[in-house]
């Protein structure tokens, strides 16, 4: 990992680097606060899934630096496009965590989808890499309208194999849009290791083909992620075009709650990487700097847990959306005739809503429907 941009050392043989210009003590604590909030959300979500209170969940344990550090480098007016791995990034922009939890619980409509325009945060993208051209589009629109707005999209190492990645990279470089391609190379695409995903040694070198600058950073280092993103956004705003950032890290957890990594990798492999995970590393760093001591860090953790606990309560108080959820938000105005007929059909006696279990012998609504796959 010697070629990686890294700011935070390990307190031993890897030294800390000077804090980049533009980050004060207050900022460092704010980034730590975000890391902790994301972690609290993630750990609680896994527990909720195990208890059957939400559905299949895509965890990101260890990948908080690539989200908190990165987002902190952007302006509120910049567009961000998360994949499912950054599913809760919206909470750092003010989306109530209960809304994203409700989405995982399986609520659609107004209670499960956040306001993407207001938060300038794309909907959580589930297909692989399909949101990358969108980030090019929003940054290109900004350029056409004379706005100094950048766009950033997160994606994994697997997504670099998709055509949309290459098409988006090409558009961005040809039209010099202020787009930041942020690849979290966690070295696993479900069961496929990065060595079978690509023949190149790095993701970053793919930028060469698009005449685009690229940087590799330590993906477990939130300050390095901040620095790379800040530089990319600044250059993009000045008309310098797009940047590819490769945040090199490791998928310490499973791909999702339905995935069992023991089927395809030796879990002992994850151990050395845990030493680099961003939360304890950032806490030690702040302690070394004298910015935040252990009790301060504990206080932040307690606050985050409290925030998420309250969100869970809010989420569970949400009532299951009514029949209209099927027919709302599909077309701009006026339900088409088949929706009007459909709603009548659903409302009539003996129809679908009256029969709760989907599978024979399956328990009723509140209990988890058996899940398979990812």
């Amino acid at each position: 990992m010697s070629d990686l941009l890294r700011i935070i050392g390990n307190g031993a043989d890897v030294p800390d680097q000077p804090i980049p210009e533009g980050l004060g003590d207050k900022d460092l604590v704010a980034i730590y606060r975000w890391l902790v909030l994301l972690r609290a959300y993630d750990e609680r979500s896994v527990a909720l899934q195990r208890q059957g209170r939400i559905g299949t969940y895509a965890l990101y344990w260890g990948e908080e630096a690539t989200q908190a550090g990165t987002l902190y480098a952007l302006e509120e007016t910049d567009w961000i496009f998360p994949s499912y791995r950054q599913n809760s990034i919206g909470i750092l922009r003010g989306v109530p965590p209960s809304v994203i939890l409700a989405w995982w619980r399986g609520y659609g409509g107004d209670v499960g989808f956040y306001d993407t325009r207001h938060f300038r945060t794309g909907p959580i993208c589930v297909p692989i890499g399909t949101h990358l051209p969108h980030a090019v589009g929003t940054s290109w629109a900004a350029k056409l309208r004379g706005e100094r707005t950048a766009s950033l999209a997160w994606f994994g190492d697997g997504a670099t194999s998709e055509g949309d990645f290459h098409e988006a990279m090409n558009f961005a470089s040809v039209f010099k849009t202020a787009t930041i391609f942020f690849c979290t190379n966690n070295q696993w695409a479900i069961s496929t290791p990065v060595s079978r995903q690509m023949a190149t040694k790095t993701v970053a070198e793919k930028a060469l083909a698009y005449a685009m600058p690229a940087v590799r950073v330590d993906g477990f280092d939130p300050i390095a992620c901040w620095k790379a993103t800040k530089d990319a956004a600044d250059r993009g705003r000045e008309g310098g075009g797009p940047t590819l950032i490769e945040a090199f890290c490791y998928r310490i957890g499973a791909h999702g709650t339905a995935d069992d990594p023991r089927l395809y990798r030796d879990e002992a492999e994850t151990e050395p990487w845990k030493a680099w995970e961003p939360l304890s590393r950032m806490a030690s760093f702040l302690d070394r700097l004298g910015v935040l001591d252990e009790s301060g860090a504990e206080k932040i953790k307690a606050e985050a847990k409290q925030t998420i606990a309250e969100a869970v309560t809010e989420m569970e108080a949400i009532e299951t959306p009514g029949l209209e959820v099927i027919f709302d938000n599909v077309y701009a105005k006026d339900r088409p005739w088949m929706f009007i007929e459909g709603l009548e059909e659903l409302r009539s006696v003996g129809q679908r809503e009256l029969v709760k279990p989907l599978n024979a012998g399956a328990p009723a609504d509140d209990t988890e429907i058996p899940e398979e796959g990812v």
């Binding site: 499912y84 998709e162 055509g163 796959g373």
Partner: protein, 321 residues
């Protein structure tokens, strides 16, 4: 059904060295639904191939292999993630025979898990078979039972033309029966009459077969004798079985979880009125998913046809209307 498919894949791989399996996570992990469980260990990574995350690439590369004499089976992980491969399927896989005047062919199987009912996340529950049905040169099959799953899979591998093989996710582990261990094929293009009846013909396929058969039971309790047809092959369609049944019963309902507009129910209705118009006592009924985005899990039961809903609509619209 998952084990029957696994067994079918194993027999296909062991019986013909030209056969190989490729897809995302099909090797090390044995597939996200474990359909290819243990096959990589048995046949090696050159024949059970973990592909990069690139659906267009998977189908396009497999097409090249098929043209060059191999018999690839590819897995696209969920129907909701199959669309990047659509260009390859519609522009090349399905038409190579036509444009090469039989000199090149693409004998390959494209396996696509589809459908709702398992409480999955967004994009994981879609039933968009219509977009494949509409492509000339493709065959489209959908098993509803484990015995057929294995037999149709082996028939698809043997078939000289490309076959889109739809696997109802909901049935993988919920539909079980004893499956013969030997090699056998179930003919593509033949429907199965799952239940004989005299008053109404219920036509379905895939995961909706269980709901439809359940509805037939309910209707029997109400004095209505339903004949139930499992299409098994959507293309080519077994028209004779459908028409013979309609001539007998005079009433038809088609059940599918796909959206109604442009769905297969419309096609069946058209064929029935073309070929058995004077036997019809009532208009053909469609019981289907809505023309709406597939909802998130807590609302999916509002979307999917079920036993009570099918029985209710058949009774009120075909017998009380």
């Amino acid at each position: 059904m998952a084990r029957a498919l696994n067994d079918g894949l194993r027999l296909a791989l062991s019986g013909d060295e030209r056969v190989l399996l490729m897809g995302e996570d099909v090797g090390r992990a044995g597939g996200v639904f474990r359909i290819s469980d243990k096959l990589r260990g048995e046949f090696g990574e050159e024949r059970v191939i973990d592909a990069p995350v690139a659906e267009s690439g998977i189908v396009g590369v497999a097409f090249g292999m098929a043209v060059a004499g191999m018999r690839p089976i590819v897995e696209l992980q969920f129907m909701g993630f199959s669309y990047p491969a659509y260009d390859q399927i519609i522009s090349h896989v399905s038409r190579i025979r036509h444009r090469s005047r039989h000199r090149f062919t693409a004998p390959m199987v494209i396996r696509i898990p589809y459908g709702g009912g398992i409480g999955a996340a967004e994009h994981h529950s879609e039933s968009m078979e219509s977009i494949y049905l509409h492509i000339p040169g493709l065959k489209v099959v959908v098993p509803s039972t484990p015995v057929d799953a294995k037999g149709l899979l082996l028939a698809a591998v043997e078939d000289p033309d490309p076959v889109v093989f739809l696997e109802p996710i909901r049935s993988y582990r919920s539909i079980t029966e004893v499956v013969p261990g030997d090699y056998y094929t179930t003919p593509i293009g033949e429907a199965a009459v799952r239940r004989e009846g005299t008053d109404v013909t219920l036509i379905s396929y895939g995961a909706m077969m269980r709901e439809t058969l359940g509805a037939a039971d309910v209707l029997e309790g109400r004095g209505i004798s339903a004949e139930v047809i499992d299409l098994r092959s959507l293309v080519p369609l077994d028209v004779d079985t459908i028409v013979a049944s309609v001539i007998k019963t005079g009433r038809v309902a088609v059940v599918h979880e796909a959206p109604r507009t442009g769905g297969f129910g419309g096609e069946i209705a058209a064929i029935v009125q073309e070929k058995a118009f004077f036997s019809l006592e009532m208009p053909v009924l469609r019981v289907t998913g809505w023309d709406s985005v597939f909802p998130l899990k807590r609302s999916e039961r509002l979307y999917l046809p079920n036993v009570a809903g099918i029985a209710e609509e058949v009774q009120t619209r075909l017998f009380e209307g």
